[in-house]
Symmetry: C2
Subunit: 382 residues, 2 copies
C-alpha cells in the first residue's frame, strides 16, 4: 500500500492548486483522478475572475473572492515559471451592460452594492463604453465599469499547473476512480478506489460535483457531501471583425475575449443532474445574449459548444475546511467560482494541514455548517 | 490516357445518380471527385422530398419535382437492392404550420396555390394537427397537410449509392481535382485535373456550387457556369420525449425526423461565398424556429451543427442539359432540391446521352438560357 502525506481526490484546478501549494512544503503529495485531470468543470469554465457579487448569496463570498484575486498574479507567476507555459492571465476591467428603461437605476444599485463591498465599480456613459469597446451594442441603456476584474484561460491554466506539479514532484494518477474513504477509528487514513487503496495522513476532497458520491459511499456519511452538479453551457465564437478588450457582461450572459481572438460566450445555470449535454434552449440563450451585447457577433462562426458541471451546494457557497472526520479536509463546492478561488483555497488547505489554522477566517465556509454531514461523521468507523 | 464513355465531374448525389442510371446501359462510366464523394451539399441536406413551391421561382420547378418524386420509390428500391443498404426513405405527409393572426389566410393561399399546381394540400384543424403530432406547439394559428411529400436520409443514400455504383462497375475516383475541360475543335473530349486527363465521349458537369470554377478555368467559358454557393446551416437534435411522425415546416424553418429518433432542424439561405461555417445568427435562427414548432425541443440535446453549400443559379432553377459545347452536359445548380431531383436528373442525362432527346420537356432548365455561357462556348478550342 502506497503511503502519502496528502492524497487529493480530484485533479481539477482546485485539487491541482492545493497540490502545487503543498509541494512547497516538502510533503509527499498525490493527486487522484479517474481520468486525465482537468477535463470537468475546470475545462468548461469561462475563466472570468470576478469578485463582484452575481447573486445575493455571493455577498458572503466577496471577501474570500477578493483575497483570491489579490493572490492571482503571484499564483500565475509561479505556475508559468514552473511550467514554462503561459496561461492567458489578464488583469482588466469588465463592463456590465444594462438594457431597458430601468438600466440606469439597475446600474446605480450595482455600483452602490459593489462600493459597499469595497469593490471598484463606476458608472460609464454609453458613449464612453462604445468608445472603449467598439463592438458593443448601441442599444444599451447604461454601463458600469468594474476594475477589480481579470480573466484567465482555464484550459491553458490546467495544462500549466499539471506540468508545474509534475516538475515539483507531485504524483498524478489519472486512472484512480475513488469510491470511498478509508476510515479507522474515526480518522480518515486514505482513499479506496478501483486502483486499490492510497494511504495518506490527510485526504483532501476536491472532486467538485462528484465529491458527494464518493463520500456518500462510505459508511457513516449517509447524506454525503451536499454537492450537486449545476450545468453550464458555453459557446466559443470567432469573429475577426469583433475585437473585445475586456469581459462584457449583462444580466443574461457574458463574453470573455481570449488572446487568440476567440470569444467565449456563456452561460446557463441548470439543474440537470449529471447530464453533460448542450441543449437547444441553452445554446439559443447564449447566442441571444451574445448578439444582444455585440450585434457584430451575428456573423461569428460557432467554433465549439460544450458544457460543464459546476459543484453547487445548498447555499451555493464553497465547502472548505476540516471535517469532523479527522484527516479529511473538504475543498469543494466552488460553484461558479472555482477558477477565481483556486489560489485562496490552496493557501487555506496548506495552512490547515501545516499550521492547523488559517490566516484568513473561513469559518463561514466550514463543512460543519451542513448538519447531516457533521452529525454522522463522528460515528464513522472503517 | 484513360478512355471512358462518360466522365461525371462531381460525386455528390446528382453525379452518382447519373452514374447509377448510366450503368444500366453498358457504358464505361467514371465519377470524379477531389475528395471522398458525397461530403458536400449531399451530406449537408435535410432530405425533405417536397415538390411544393417554397418560393415564387419554384413554380417553374414543380412539374420536374413531381416527376422526380414519382420516380423516387423505384430509385430507392434499386439502390437499396444493389447496395443491400437502407436509405431511410419515407413517403409521408408533411404539416405546414402557420403563426400569427394571418395564419388562416396564409394557409388558404398555400392550399389554393398547391392545388392549382396539382399537389395535394388540405386544411387541417389545429386540434387535428395536435392530435397527429403531439409535439407540435398549441400556439399555431393554422395548419396545412401536404400529402405529396416524403423524406430520405441523404447520408445513408450517399453511402448506398456509392456501394451500388461500385457493384455496377462504375469507377469512382476520390483524388481527382478537376481543373478544366479538354475541348478539341469545339467538342469536349475529357476533363483535366491534378490526376491527369480523363478522356470521355461525354462529360457531365455535376459539381454543384463548384461547377462554375471548373468551367471558368477553361478558355472560352469566361463567365463560367453561373452557379454560386448558397449556404445552409443545420442542427441535429435529440429529444427522446419529442416523437415526430412527419416533416414539420413553418415559414421560418423545418424539422425532419430520422428513423433513429434524431430530428434534423434547418435552415438558412445565405450568400456567404465558399465559407462553410456555422454562425451565431444561423444557429440561433434554426433553434428559434425549431422551438417555435415544438416547444418540447427546448430540452433537446444539440448533437451536431453543420452547413453545406447549395448550388444556386441566377434564377435558382437547375441547369440541366446539353451545352453548345458538344460532349458537355450540365447537371448542376439544383439549389435546395438536389436530393429530390436526383432521379429525374439521372433519367434526363441518360436520355440525352443514349437517345439524344428526353421524354420529359426540360427545355426551361437548359444551360442555353444563360447567354454568356452559350455565346462563348461555341468558340472554345483546346
Amino acid at each position: 500500500m502506497e503511503n502519502f502525506d496528502v492524497a487529493i481526490v480530484g485533479g481539477g484546478l482546485i485539487g491541482c492548486s492545493i497540490a502545487f501549494e503543498l509541494s512547497k512544503e516538502n510533503l509527499r503529495v498525490i493527486v487522484l483522478d479517474r481520468q486525465q485531470p482537468g477535463l470537468e468543470a475546470s475545462w468548461a469554465a469561462a475563466g472570468m475572475l470576478s469578485p463582484a457579487p452575481h447573486s445575493p448569496q455571493d455577498v458572503t463570498l466577496v471577501p474570500l473572492a477578493k483575497e483570491s484575486l489579490r493572490l492571482y498574479p503571484e499564483f500565475v507567476r509561479e505556475i508559468e515559471e514552473c511550467s514554462a507555459t503561459r496561461v492567458g492571465y489578464a488583469q482588466k476591467s469588465a463592463f456590465h451592460i444594462f438594457f431597458g428603461s430601468n438600466g440606469e437605476a439597475e446600474r446605480d444599485i450595482m455600483i452602490s452594492e459593489n462600493k459597499r463591498l469595497g469593490l471598484n465599480c463606476e458608472s460609464a456613459s454609453v458613449s464612453d463604453a462604445l468608445k472603449s469597446e467598439k463592438a458593443l451594442t448601441s442599444e444599451m441603456s447604461a454601463a458600469a465599469l468594474l476594475s477589480n476584474e481579470g480573466s484567465v484561460e482555464p484550459r491553458l491554466l490546467m495544462e500549466a499547473i499539471l506540468i508545474a506539479n509534475r516538475n515539483r514532484g507531485v504524483e498524478i494518477r489519472s486512472d484512480f476512480n475513488a469510491t470511498s474513504l478509508v476510515v479507522d477509528r474515526g480518522r480518515c487514513t486514505g482513499i479506496r478506489g478501483n486502483g486499490g487503496v492510497i494511504a495518506a495522513k490527510q485526504v483532501v476532497m476536491a472532486a467538485g460535483c462528484f465529491s458527494g458520491s464518493i463520500i456518500s459511499e462510505t459508511k457513516g456519511f449517509p447524506g454525503g457531501l451536499p454537492v450537486r452538479p449545476v450545468r453550464g453551457q458555453m459557446v466559443a465564437l470567432s469573429a475577426p471583425s469583433v475585437a473585445l478588450h475586456r469581459v462584457l457582461r449583462s444580466h443574461r450572459g457574458y463574453l470573455v475575449p481570449r488572446a487568440d481572438g476567440r470569444i467565449v460566450a456563456g452561460s446557463t445555470l441548470e439543474e440537470a443532474g449529471f447530464e453533460k449535454r448542450v441543449t437547444a434552449e441553452g445554446i439559443r440563450h447564449i447566442l441571444d445574449s451574445a448578439i444582444e451585447l455585440c450585434p457584430g457577433l451575428r456573423k461569428a462562426e460557432v467554433l465549439e459548444t460544450w458544457c460543464g458541471l459546476r459543484p453547487g451546494t445548498p447555499d451555493n457557497l464553497p465547502i472548505l475546511g476540516p471535517t469532523e472526520c479527522e484527516g479529511l479536509i473538504a475543498a469543494t463546492g466552488h460553484y461558479r467560482n472555482g477558477i477565481l478561488l483556486a489560489p485562496i483555497t490552496a493557501r487555506l488547505v496548506r495552512e490547515w494541514i501545516v499550521q492547523g489554522r488559517t490566516t484568513f477566517d473561513a469559518t463561514v465556509f466550514s463543512p460543519l455548517r451542513f448538519k447531516e454531514f457533521r452529525s454522522e461523521a463522528v460515528h464513522t468507523t472503517r
